[in-house]
Amino acid sequence: MGVLRQLRLRAERQAKLLRCLRKSASLRTIQNRTDLIRPRDALVFTTLRNELVRLPYFLDYYRAQGVRQFLIVDNGSTDGSAEYLAQQRDVSLWTTSASYKAAGYGVDWLNHLLWLYGAGHWVLVVDVDEFFVYPFCDTRPLQALTDWLESQGRRSFGAMLLDMYPKGPVTAQPYVSGQNPFEIARWFDAGNYTIRRNPEYHNLWIQGGVRQRVVMAHDPGKAPALNKIPLVLWTRKYAFKSSTHMILPRGLNRVYDQGGGELASGVLLHAKFLDTIVAKAQEELQRGQHYARSREYRAYEDTLARNQDLWCEWSTEYINWRQLEILGLMSKGDWA
């Protein structure tokens, strides 16, 4: 690789960090409990808007994995999310009414909080509808994974997004706060994912799943990216480039083996397709704050309005991480 290219990538990363600093000016501290963070704690970083119904299960899920603190940006919720979060003893909360879109879909805010509080910690950057599954997650806490990754000299860990959906219309089974969303959205597409390698940033670009099969079938190239690198041992030099799909410096994007071997990887179970998506899609369409003029939400509304079933006869019902491993969606690599 040329020196020029390297310099350009570095300049890009530094510009990104500066931009995040600028964008973070709109963040207002509601509750700062970061003084409670201990040196080796794993931290969750999230940005959200109007997700009250999802919060109890989300927080408990990651608490059970051993996460010690949640650092959350609330983007102007009106449903009481902020009030609920401010009461939690392990949540630090910031709020902003600035544009989600102008802040790189929230990435700028999180990058800045990561810069302030993430350095030296394993950070898990997820949305409230994303649930991290890693090898042995039913018997080993998150710290076992991060300890092991560190002993292997790894600083980033990939976990692709796996869209989960219910059988029948999404509105048929209403989600109740505190409920495990995968009691309803129990199904997924096991083997229709396509991958390309991004020659510029060296990440893999993964598309497919139910969103390509049903929602974006007419234009598969526009199906959303499913590759994610949500778990990183952070330093102040790092920055997420676009959501957690890509990170700089780009060496962190190499969460895969190119010689035929398998690196350990996980999955983010994506509980997007619950009854809550109908209201969400309408709200987001009005706000127009999502990627590519909220193309995706428009397609959801279209698909869901027709009451189309996302389920098909070859959908797979979720059991556990071992099942995902056997299907080849994730790998334990050599973590025995």
């Binding site: 597409d189 396509t194 079938a217 071997g261 969606l329 050599d334």
Partner: protein, 554 residues
């Protein structure tokens, strides 16, 4: 205090997770085994005091002088020497000394180990392998550990370490191994008799040997292992402590979910245990095992478990493309998950070819998977294993991965499909199949003309179409004829094939399903080719180039 002191003394070297070290010390003390703790110098005074007050004073407990023991350093040997000497001096009844660490965990009750040692009072349990059999080593130098100088730290000064080794190799520098030592290596966790340890510690040449070993690389794996060969009466060259190394020579960690696996070990201790593995510690350090049915030791099972993990990391699962396994196009791995067969032109020559093929081979026979309008899955299914859609748009977005996904999702069932010049002929896909060892590709060139004859439309339309199909077929055959082709490829012209259709077809099918199936089902009837000759003549007379037709007359 107990009336009696056990015959086993235990040295525990610890530097982190001190509460675990305290638990281990208590375990041995309860069995009346004297314990010497070596707490690494890097541990803070406060933490040390906390450990001491946690353990309290105990007549069988000692702390040995502290050293800072970096990985693989001489000080590890020094700490072991001093701690063992202290044990031997303060507890005259001790007959065996066990060297362990703060992340070792006893797998059986102390009484079991004591009984084992009582039965073998003269035996030294130390893995000690001659360096002429250097298989023992994973990831690192073997004989050169003994013959080169190692002034630099491997972990902190890797570059200097490597250059220094290179330089000595180049200059052919060699250190002399002091006589009469014969270098041996092995696990650093041993259990030696008082007699052997005494002999090592009081050897008149100890200073001379030490001067030599200080320069060695990882002397904690060679000092005692070599000297035991000099002094021991009876060596059992097998450590009592189970350690599983990965390919970089780093020990694998044991977690709570390894409990059943560890119960099957035939060793007395295991390392390394992840310090937070609460269930392992509470199980093995208590008498919980008494309540359970005994298990027969199956150490091979443990080996197998870790070998499989290692294999998955290094080789991976063939034909799988996913987020953490994405082999280069030119990597040496198998490209697809299972063998498959591709047929070009056969459906035009034989009646009900796909149905017959399914019957005779038991394989899954699809139609044209790459047809322009849609994926023609078996039985016209709209979606297949893995939730693969029959949408042509989705398939054409990445045809190569459409195929690899299908083969992965349906393994080990053999997939067969029709593929011809009328299909979407993606260059990447054709090349992929041609260079895939799992592919069996059989082509009847020009058979598409038979199909064209039956197709609706005017002759003029057919001529236009013939040009396109001919070009597509040429591309396809060109890929298959490349010298880089690895697939099992058979290509006939229609004329060649028709000389003996049943023999040619049998040859292919025999490769898939064997002779018996073929004998049971026979060969499918040929399609009627009435009017083919006049059809070709008509096309020729209306301007189709003769070269397109010349291989088709039969």
């Amino acid at each position: 205090m107990s009336a009696q002191t056990a015959r086993l003394g235990v040295v525990i070297l610890c530097h982190t997770a001190l509460r675990r070290a305290a638990q281990l010390a208590r375990f041995w003390l309860q069995a009346d085994c004297p314990v010497v703790l070596h707490v690494d110098r890097s541990v803070s005074e406060a933490d040390l005091q906390a450990l001491k007050s946690d353990l309290g004073a105990h007549p069988l407990l000692r702390f040995s002088p502290r050293h800072r023991c970096d990985w693989g350093s001489w000080r590890l040997v020094l700490a072991s020497q001093e701690a063992s000497a202290l044990l031997l001096k303060d507890f005259p009844s001790v007959g065996h000394v066990l060297l362990s660490s703060g992340s070792c965990l006893p797998l059986r009750p102390a009484a079991a180990l004591l009984a084992h040692l009582d039965a073998h009072p003269e035996t030294d349990f130390i893995e000690s392998v001659s360096i002429t059999h250097a298989d023992w080593i994973t990831g690192g130098l073997s004989e050169e550990r003994f013959t080169l100088y190692f002034p630099f730290n491997w972990r902190r000064q890797r570059w200097l370490f490597d250059r220094c080794v290179d330089l000595q190799r180049k200059l052919e520098l060699r250190r002399r191994i002091p006589a009469p030592l014969r270098p041996h290596m092995g696990s650093q966790w041993w259990c030696l008799t008082r007699a052997t340890l005494d002999a090592i510690l009081t050897d008149p040449n100890r200073t001379r040997y030490e001067r030599y070993f200080r320069q060695n690389w990882i002397p904690d794996e060679s000092y005692f292992q070599t000297l035991a060969r000099l002094h021991a009466r009876e060596i059992e060259s097998r450590s009592l402590t189970l350690v599983k190394f990965d390919r970089h020579g780093r020990p694998n960690l044991f977690y709570d979910d390894h409990l059943q696996l560890l119960r099957r070990s035939d060793c007395f201790l295991a390392r390394k245990i992840w310090p937070e593995a609460e269930r392992l510690y509470s199980f093995f350090l208590s008498d919980q095992a008494k309540g359970l049915d005994p298990v027969t030791p199956e150490p091979a099972k443990i080996d197998r478990y870790f070998e499989l993990a290692e294999k998955q990391r290094v080789e991976g699962r063939a034909g799988l493309y996913m987020q953490s396994r994405f082999p280069h196009a030119d990597s040496a791995t198998t490209k697809s998950a299972a063998p498959y067969s591709v047929f070009t032109g056969f459906e035009h020559v034989f009646q009900n070819f796909d149905y017959w093929l399914g019957q005779v081979t038991g394989a899954r026979v699809h139609g044209h998977l790459f047809a322009p309008d849609a994926v023609h899955f078996h039985g016209g299914a709209r979606v297949w294993h893995g939730a693969i859609s029959n949408s042509a748009a989705i398939r054409d977005y990445n045809p190569r991965m459409f195929l690899t996904n299908l083969l992965w999702a349906t393994r080990p069932e053999r997939q067969c499909f029709l593929h011809g010049p009328g299909d979407v002929m993606d260059g990447t896909l054709s090349w992929f199949m041609a260079t895939d060892t799992n592919a069996q590709i059989s082509v009847i060139r020009g058979a598409w003309l038979l199909g064209l004859q039956d197709a609706p439309g005017s002759d003029a339309e057919k001529i236009a179409r013939a040009g396109l199909l001919h070009r597509q077929e040429q591309d396809w055959v060109e890929n298959l004829n490349s010298r880089h082709t690895l697939a099992r490829v058979r290509i006939w012209s229609l004329a060649e094939f028709m000389q003996d259709p049943s023999a040619r077809l049998s040859e292919i099918v025999r490769e898939i399903a064997g002779e018996a199936a073929l004998a049971a089902h026979g060969v499918p009837p040929l399609r009627a080719a009435d009017g083919f000759e006049p059809f070709l003549a008509r096309l020729r007379n209306q301007g189709l180039p003769a070269q397109v037709l010349k291989e088709c007359q039969f």
